[in-house]
């Protein structure tokens, strides 16, 4: 039953995360808090149970597929996007390129400055 065990652990963490987010009215989604909870659990436990690894890595392998249903929702906003098409398109492309370049460059620099032994 490793798949069921693994899935139960993931769902339990997500559930705890949702409870925390709702209960404290945090602007952070439950699954992200669930990730933090699971990480804390793994650090305390000191290893990843094989059942959890099997389920988790299976899910992560198909992570791209999981975005498809939400993405199809774009069709609902076709008209809104069409109204501001040029500003939206230019902003998305240029700003995303800028963000990638600046972040990558900054991290590369900062990592190197940390000195030997910290690089890959």
């Amino acid at each position: 039953m490793p798949l069921i065990m693994g899935m139960s652990v993931l769902l339990a963490c997500q559930f705890a995360g949702e409870l925390l987010a709702r209960g404290l009215e945090l602007p952070i989604p439950g699954p992200v808090l669930g990730m933090v909870i699971l990480l804390a659990g793994l650090v305390i436990r000191g290893k990843v149970p094989s059942s959890l690894r099997l389920t988790g890595e299976g899910l992560l392998r198909y992570l791209t597929l999981l975005f498809v249903p939400a993405g199809v929702g774009l069709m609902v906003h076709a008209r809104l996007i069409g109204m501001d098409l040029l500003p939206i398109a230019v902003t998305l492309v240029v700003s995303t390129a800028l963000t990638l370049a600046v972040t990558g460059w900054a991290l590369e620099r900062l990592q190197r400055r940390q000195g030997p032994g910290s690089g890959a």
Partner: protein, 243 residues
């Protein structure tokens, strides 16, 4: 034996969750095949292609998005546990994350300010409407967080979710070329950058195309960016005189 007319059969099928579930999987398989046939180019991301195929299909078949989502939500639901599962690669690479904690936090702050600042600045210059502006602002954050933020600062939540996805696919398309241009070869840096700029899309891309280390750092960046943006964005929006 009675044969049911085809149009009646279609009415039954098109409203059934089974159909949307099946076409979603099929569209994904077809999109991955097409992408592979094109030599795995990042310019035509399988997810973007699958989404385009599905939108085309739904329009042709005259199926509402809400009807489609009734079936597709079973796939959508798995995003939650998958996000939680990001803790696993993060735990595997915890030593490296701990060593790089300060550079990572700093780079994250720099990245967020760049993302939000350039988005608002450009969109303002191009004359976008205020509502569009506020909807664009949280676009480099993973969609559930972006929707919450958009609502908080006065944008349109569901459109924000769509723009987040577009940002994701653009980030995946631009990433590899930019990394080559800037000479960034480190897997961890590539993953972190993709996760920050292109959230879950970038993370999925990092896992599938770069490797587990990149995926772990990408997941970390996605979570961190989401958390920090939720706090920083309302402040930046004030600086720009909006909100």
């Amino acid at each position: 034996m009675n044969v049911v007319p085809l149009d009646q059969l279609w009415v039954y099928l098109s409203g059934h969750p089974l159909l949307s579930l099946l076409v979603t999987l099929l569209a994904f398989v077809v999109a991955v095949r097409i992408n592979r046939a094109l030599g795995g180019t990042p310019l035509v991301h399988p997810v973007t292609l699958a989404i385009a195929l599905l939108i085309g299909f739904l329009l042709l078949a005259d199926i509402e998005y809400a009807t489609y989502f009734e079936g597709a939500q079973f796939i959508h639901f798995l995003l939650g546990p998958a996000t939680v599962a990001l803790a696993i690669p993060l735990y595997d690479h915890r030593e490296r994350v701990r060593r790089l904690l300060w550079p990572l936090l700093l780079a994250c702050g720099v990245g967020i300010v760049t993302a939000v600042g350039s988005t608002l600045g450009l969109a303002m210059l191009m004359g976008a409407q205020p509502e569009t502006l506020l909807t664009l602002a949280p676009r480099s954050v993973t969609s559930p967080i972006a929707m919450g933020i958009a609502e908080q600062i006065g944008g349109i939540p569901s459109l924000a979710a769509g723009l987040v996805l577009l940002t994701g696919s653009i980030g995946c398309a631009l990433g590899p070329g930019l990394f080559r241009l800037l000479g960034i070869r480190d897997q961890a840096v590539q993953g972190f950058t993709l996760g920050l700029a292109a959230h879950g899309f970038g993370t999925a891309h990092a896992f599938a195309r770069i490797g587990a280390v990149a995926g772990a750092f990408s997941g970390l960046a996605m979570g961190l960016t989401g958390l920090l943006t939720a706090f920083l964005l309302p402040l930046i929006v004030k600086v720009f005189g909006l909100g």
